[in-house]
């Protein structure tokens, strides 16, 4: 680990003022479950680390007429312990449950989960976010890409967004509140994530002097049925190979509005809009779920080793839809 300065903020303003104008200046430290390993591996080397654990107003889950607000510092465990989340937003609870390490659930925060860096092994081995060789060519297409993207992979990014919570939050129509020097701005969850075009860009719209403050799930999402299904090779301590979060609004057994968001298949959480339409007006059964799954992956373009992920993503969509329709927890 390179030497760094440790700063401890107690207010938002203080935290923001301690952040810098470039990513090398400073990094936000929440639970540290990702940041510390990135620093130990010299993948990121911020000059200063700004600990936000004690910043006021970033904690807790609060409901009001507008919706449910989740502070960026809420841990996975707190998310899972919350009755509202468990009973009203099963897709989010499923996703948090899927993070199958007690230590990470205890320390890892919702904000950290959304902002965590990709697990792409070229990135983690020091080849940069876009995994390039010394001539600037991406190592992924002809390399070991069994866990890489099958969608949104026209380059130059081939990694998958690692967040398990993001697809569920997007399906639930969440908005993210970002705190910066000029106060707060709000972006819809899908707009938060971007596909970087260069190694110096990030995977989201945060600027170096901003931080994620909270996440709001609108009240209108309270009546939705939802579920997340993740395909994992191991039963625990393993990343999903593919995942899908779905929400459906049912009237008289028929879907009036459905949303399907895929995880771990693209550099961003992937909204399968072409599949959403497939659901409208139908009641969900095996064949409707299967055709929605087909539609969701219709644009998939697997790399040399990851064709299997297309199938897995389809299964995830199908199983998530069937679970949501049944109201299974």
């Amino acid at each position: 680990m390179e030497r760094f300065e440790y700063a401890h903020a107690s207010t938002r303003q203080e935290a923001i003022s301690l952040l810098g104008s470039s990513w090398d200046d400073a990094a936000v430290l929440a639970g540290g479950t990702d940041l510390i390993s990135l620093m130990k591996e010299y993948v990121v080397t911020p000059k200063r680390v700004v600990d936000i654990k004690n910043v006021e107003g970033l904690n807790g889950i609060h409901s009001n007429a507008e919706g449910v607000t989740i502070g960026a510092l809420v841990t996975m465990d707190e998310l899972l312990e919350d009755k509202t989340i468990r009973s009203e937003f099963p897709a989010l609870a499923h996703a948090a449950q899927g993070i199958t390490s007690a230590q990470i659930r205890a320390m890892g925060t919702v904000g950290g989960d959304l902002c965590q860096r990709p697990r792409c092994w070229y990135f983690r081995n020091g080849y940069g976010l876009l995994a390039k060789d010394e001539n600037g060519k991406s190592l992924v297409p002809e390399g070991e890409n069994r866990y890489h993207a099958i969608l949104g992979n026209n380059g130059p990014a081939y990694f998958v967004n690692p967040s398990s919570l993001a697809p569920a939050l997007i399906a639930l129509g969440a908005k993210l509140q970002l705190a910066g020097p000029k106060g707060q701005r709000e972006v819809s969850a899908p707009d938060f994530f971007i596909i970087p075009k260069s190694d110096s860009e990030r995977e989201n719209v945060l600027r170096p002097n901003e931080m994620l403050a909270s996440i709001v799930i609108p009240a209108s999402s309270r009546g939705l049925r939802s579920a997340t299904y993740e395909v994992r090779h191991k039963t625990a301590l393993d990343w999903p190979l593919a995942a899908a979060a779905v929400t459906v609004k049912l009237e008289g057994g028929k879907v009036t509005e459905g949303r399907i968001v895929l995880g771990h298949v693209a550099p961003i959480p992937w909204q399968a809009k072409e599949a959403d339409k497939e659901l409208t007006g139908k009641s969900i059964n095996e064949s409707v779920a299967a055709s929605a799954a087909e539609a969701a992956l219709s644009r998939a373009k697997p790399l040399s080793q990851n064709g299997y992920k297309v199938k897995l993503a389809k299964v995830a969509v199908k199983r998530a839809l069937l679970a949501a329709a049944k109201g299974e927890a």
């Binding site: 983690r124 060789d133 070991e144 090779h233 080793q305 990851n306 199938k311 299964v315």
Partner: protein, 713 residues
């Protein structure tokens, strides 16, 4: 006099019972120190610099910047300029500093210039390996062409297993501490008695007796920790230069890159049989990679079932993936998955239950035929094979397909050279000392049990001294040779010591030493329990001089020991054909190993082996990137190991009683890890109706198999 032969098992009070390991409580309470835990006063920390290239020549090394870093006390070059490095992770230099962090930072400041050389790291067939191949063996027995021509059924297939690593819980490494010219090494090693000689050979000490190796416990080796290793030598040299103790343990990524791997093995197989299942001919062309120098050698195929007419050929592919090291039963798991998969496919073609096919040809297994046959029967019963088995392809509806698979394996397990001293003190205390080591297998406990049994004392009355090179020399713990070696030397030493005591005591009991026995904490006249003296009183007769008995494992045939075991395993799996994910629901392991000293630690070996077996069957793979020459999953995140939820039910049965016990002690560490790959692969084929050719059985391969062969569902 007491006889050194093993007592009949029904006369034993400790041998053959289920006894908890002696060091269990110390380990669980964290009271016993692994090498990793050793902290000496004033100790420094060492870190190494590794090659980032899979093949390169070191041009120059500049350590000046590193030497100026805070806390740095010594620097050591491990690969001199002009020499080559052969894998990413090959050690080049090392540095010692006050803290681990300082050492790590300083290591990054050592500037090494390399001249890159061409590499190959992909696990490819010889045809794609260019000049990186070496033919290791070609052999023909009988007339395989004719045999295969006359066969009524032929099955052909390609099978294999990937390169994996050892993943010892405790990393490689040691603490080195000098006292004048004397060196103490707290080393995580499988070879306590052998390391001093290696250090002397490297001219680090003037003679081997200047080195003391201490390994009271160690966190697993599996064949990867026989040597002092370059980092052991470097650590000793750094400690000398710095004049302070140094701890240098490998980090997890270095473990995976540079501390050894199990070679891969693949084969194209053609096997033929008569319609009744009698095997008639075998032909295989195999290959695999064991690093840059073809370590690992050629397999002896077919495995266990010795089909008389055969032609085999093996080619090694030379790659820059790291050094091959013995991995728990070297070559056997690979030979097993190749052979048992081929036989299973043949059984499917014959329309036969694979257990029947194995039983039909059981005579081809040679001397152990009866054992195998009994083990298959026992395993079938424990698996409920007859009622659960179905022909290839689970025809029930739904995506989850269930299946069963079987496999058999063998191993030698003859005891290695071993020496033991047993001391009886006048106060009645008993200790045994051997320069052996307990890798976590239960060696310490087994030694204690044998000593206590011999003396007629409770286990707690015996002190076991191992893990110190000052004790009588013992062999390296590899090849399942330890339990045999130490059992013989301990039994002989304890008997020799006891006999001296019996001689001392005999007059006071008015008996001849030959008429005495040591049981239940007493020395008594055989057949006349009332004529007895308590153990302590007996020892008091020694006056002030303790007794020492010595024992040595006999060269060649030792009548306390034997070798050659067989085992049978059966797996039951569920395959989700929509996700390609395999779950092992149940694994039955039936194993013989002669006379069992401690049933509990023996069973533990088998449980552990089954877990390791499930892990390499489903998950493990050292993933190499040809472009960068690197291992991309040098971590325990994407180098996947099974967790509790992945094991399913493991059922262990040890073959004991007449026919087994009287063979004497035979090693056990290796055999049970051999069959899981084949049994699980066969179960998957039985479930989904097609063969997934190679391990690990990952979802992508399951899908590929389902697609290319167009199977059920």
């Amino acid at each position: 006099m007491a006889d050194y032969h093993w007592p009949p098992t029904d006369k034993c009070s400790l041998i053959g019972r289920r006894i908890s390991r002696l060091d269990g409580p110390w380990k669980s309470a964290g009271r016993i120190k692994y090498s990793y835990d050793v902290n000496r006063p004033n100790m420094l920390h060492g870190k190494m610099v590794f090659s980032p290239y899979a093949h390169a020549k070191v041009v120059s090394i500049d350590t000046s910047a590193a030497e100026k870093m805070p806390g740095v006390k010594a620097v050591e070059i491990m690969t001199e300029p002009g020499k080559e490095v052969f894998w990413v992770g090959h050690e080049v230099a090392a540095v010692a500093a006050e803290t681990e962090e300082q050492a790590r930072d300083a290591a990054r400041r050592i500037q090494v210039r390399y001249e890159k050389l061409p590499h190959l790291v992909s696990d490819v067939a010889p045809s794609k390996a260019g000049e990186h191949t070496k033919q290791l063996a070609e052999q023909t027995d009988g007339n395989p062409d004719q045999a295969l021509q006359q066969a009524e059924v032929i099955s052909e297939g390609e099978y294999g297993a990937s390169v994996i690593t050892h993943c010892c819980l405790e990393a490689h490494g040691q603490v080195a501490e000098w006292d004048g010219d004397d060196l103490t090494l707290y080393a995580s090693t499988q070879n306590v008695s052998g390391i001093p000689g290696e250090i002397a050979k490297a001219n680090i000490v003037s003679s081997a007796d200047k080195v003391r190796v201490l390994t009271p416990v160690m966190g697993g080796g599996f064949g990867s920790k026989f040597g002092a290793d370059s980092w052991g030598l470097a650590c000793a040299r750094l400690a000398k230069k710095a004049g302070r103790p140094i701890k240098m343990m490998l980090e997890r990524d270095q473990e995976l890159m540079a501390a050894g791997e199990r070679p891969s093995m693949y084969a194209k197989v053609k096997v033929g049989a008569k319609k009744d299942g009698t095997l008639v001919g075998w032909q295989s062309e195999s290959w695999g990679t064991g690093g840059p120098d073809a370590q690992g050698g050629a397999p002896n195929l077919p495995y266990v079932v010795r089909i008389p007419d055969r032609r085999v050929k093996h080619t090694a592919v030379l790659t820059n993936i790291g050094p091959a090291r013995a991995w728990r039963a070297p070559n056997h798991p690979q030979m097993c998955v190749i052979t048992m998969s081929a036989l299973d496919d043949l059984a499917a073609k014959l329309g036969m239950d694979p257990v029947d096919l194995l039983q039909k040809n059981i005579q081809m297994t040679g001397q152990l035929a009866k054992t195998y046959s009994a083990e298959l029967e026992k395993a079938s019963q424990l698996m409920d094979w007859k009622s659960k088995w179905h022909p290839r392809g689970d025809k029930t509806s739904g995506p989850i397909k269930k299946g069963l698979g079987v496999s058999m394996h063998t191993w030698g397990g003859a005891g290695h050279p071993s020496n033991c001293n047993c001391v009886i003190q006048p106060d009645g205390s008993v200790s045994v000392s051997l320069g052996s080591q307990d890798l976590g297998t239960g060696t310490r406990t087994v030694i204690g049990i044998i000593t206590a049994e011999t003396m007629g004392l409770p286990l707690e009355a015996v002190k076991v001294n191992i893990g110190d090179s000052k004790y009588p020399a013992d062999g390296a713990s590899g090849g399942s040779t330890t339990v045999g070696g130490v059992s013989s030397s301990t039994r002989r030493a304890a008997t020799a010591a006891l006999n001296q005591l019996l001689e001392k005591v005999a007059p006071s009991l008015d008996a001849k030493p030959d008429d005495l026995e040591a049981v239940d904490g007493e020395i008594r006249v055989k057949g006349n329990p009332s004529k007895a003296i308590f153990w302590k009183q007996a020892c008091a007769k020694l006056g002030t001089t303790p007794i020492t008995g010595t024992g040595q494992r006999q060269r060649g045939n030792d009548d306390l020991l034997s070798s050659g075991v067989g085992g049978a395993q059966m797996a039951e799996v569920s395959v989700d054909t929509e996700t390609g994910i395999v779950h092992v629901d149940k694994l039955v392991a039936v194993q013989d190993c002669g006379l069992i000293i401690d049933l509990k630690t023996a069973e533990s070996q088998v449980y552990g082996a089954c877990i390791m077996g499930i892990t390499y069957s489903l998950f493990e793979e050292k993933i190499m990137d040809e472009q960068t020459g690197r291992c991309l999953n040098a971590d325990l995140e994407f180098y996947k190991l099974a967790g509790i939820g992945d094991f399913g039910d493991i059922v262990v049965h040890m073959m004991t009683g007449p026919g087994y016990d009287e063979r004497g002690v035979i090693g056990l560490g290796e055999p049970p890890v051999i069959s899981p790959g084949a049994a699980i692969s066969n179960a998957v084929a039985n479930a989904i109706g097609v063969r997934v050719p190679t391990l690990p059985l990952t979802p992508d391969k399951v899908f590929a198999a389902l697609e290319t062969k167009g199977a059920v569902a």
